[in-house]
Symmetry: C2
């Protein structure tokens, strides 16, 4: 399974501010206008705009706080409504400290605050401050966007729904693929021969996560944030996978 060895071209796709109910596929297709596309050009969209289009806002004043969340919020000096939402979105808590609340999200991701976003949300919204949950099912979001692009462009471009995670051992957040459709999420290199025909030591590459990290370099986080990116020049022959392929089963996780 050779990876690519031709140049990559990575194009930022500026979009208007995305609102609930927006046709994200139409916005992305419009941003792709004028670009000559190939079948393995990958569209990477930030989780945040997918959640916005899907209307995954929750007003903090609407949250019914649980006792468990109130106790944890008091210990961490955090908002009880926010902690309630984090716990509702999580399978279990990995670490709870004043500096960080790390959980395993119900979909398996290990991340801070269950991915609930308090930034870049309009604080002047008339019904009080809201936060933004992850998409209900990022793999399904990616598949829907791929289908929609197929309808609008005549090309079912592969799609990654990306986010940015902190991680163990190393400082700095890096891009990760939450949802994947139309491309492999991991590449199994176990069949590949090395230069002298022996088996390779590193056997599985986090293909979609590396593409998400690449996209994150363009997306940034601040006011200049670019919410979508097109990556041209990748190629693969492995079958398509899903973001779930990137979740390491606990029983094979030797890195902790």
């Amino acid at each position: 399974m050779p990876l690519v060895a031709q140049p990559l071209f990575v194009i930022p796709l500026p979009l208007p501010l995305v609102r609930p109910g927006d046709d994200l596929g139409a916005l992305v297709a419009s941003a792709l206008g004028g670009i000559e596309l190939a079948a393995q050009d990958v569209v990477v969209v930030a989780q945040k705009i997918v959640s916005k289009a899907e209307g995954r806002y929750v007003r903090l004043s609407d949250v019914q706080c649980t006792e468990e969340a109130r106790a944890l919020a008091a210990r961490l000096d955090r908002d009880p409504a926010m902690v309630t939402l984090v716990l509702q979105e999580s399978a279990h808590v990995v670490r709870a400290e004043p500096q960080a609340l790390i959980v395993q999200h119900r979909l398996g991701y290990v991340m801070a605050n269950a991915g609930i976003d308090q930034s870049n949300l309009d604080p002047m919204a008339e019904d009080g401050p809201a936060v933004l949950l992850l998409p209900e099912d990022p793999d399904a979001s990616a598949a829907r966007l791929q289908e929609r692009l197929g309808t609008l462009l005549g090309m079912r471009l592969p799609v990654i729904v990306s986010d940015s995670f902190g991680r163990p051992w190393r400082r700095g957040s890096v891009g990760v693929a939450l949802g994947v459709s139309g491309l492999p999420a991991v590449l199994d290199l176990r069949g590949a021969a090395d230069l002298f025909g022996r088996a390779l030591q590193i056997t599985i590459a986090g293909f979609a996560d590396q593409i998400a990290s690449l996209a994150c370099l363009l997306m940034g986080e601040g006011a200049e944030g670019i919410p979508a990116v097109l990556v041209q020049g990748l190629s693969w022959s492995a079958p398509a996978g899903t973001g779930a392929d990137l979740l390491r089963p606990v029983q094979e996780d030797l890195f902790r």
Copy 2:
């Protein structure tokens, strides 16, 4: 600290097979011939070719095995000479299982086998099989390569010495920056305002690791491996850092 929002262009740099004592800067400079360069174009070189140029080979038949390594090798069903080298290169063992020997390298990286490479090494070498250690000091290697490129090209292009690591929680190896010279390793986003002027939740980006992941997409691992990559289109205003900036101090590591 805005990240970039212009297109990126990522160019593979094929090199001849690198041998001990080779002038890696001259090989890279030659591969860059004909490319119009800018001051913030980043050269990413795979750790393996840096180690080869630095002659970091060890013949397994030359290793004096320790008792500790013999015992561990027996338990893991591994070669005692290889385990001896892994332990010599490590500060401590994180996990020792038949499937994986995860250590903290003496330079701080948490990785399998202390980064010692048994693949892509010529098994027909006359003195028996050899393995390849990490560079003695990847930050120093990056700085030397940056200096050498400055001498040869008149431009001190920023340099990353990259590797590919497995990681906790998620499947698939991804690129990491071992050595960094001439660019920031992490970008502190804490001063950046979001779209509505509030503080950002994710505050430190693993800038050089994300560039290494990008490069890994081109480098691959197999016979088609490309050992060096040029990344054009990035920009930054933060001061340069080192690969050591990416090592998370244990006391602030909440993700394990």
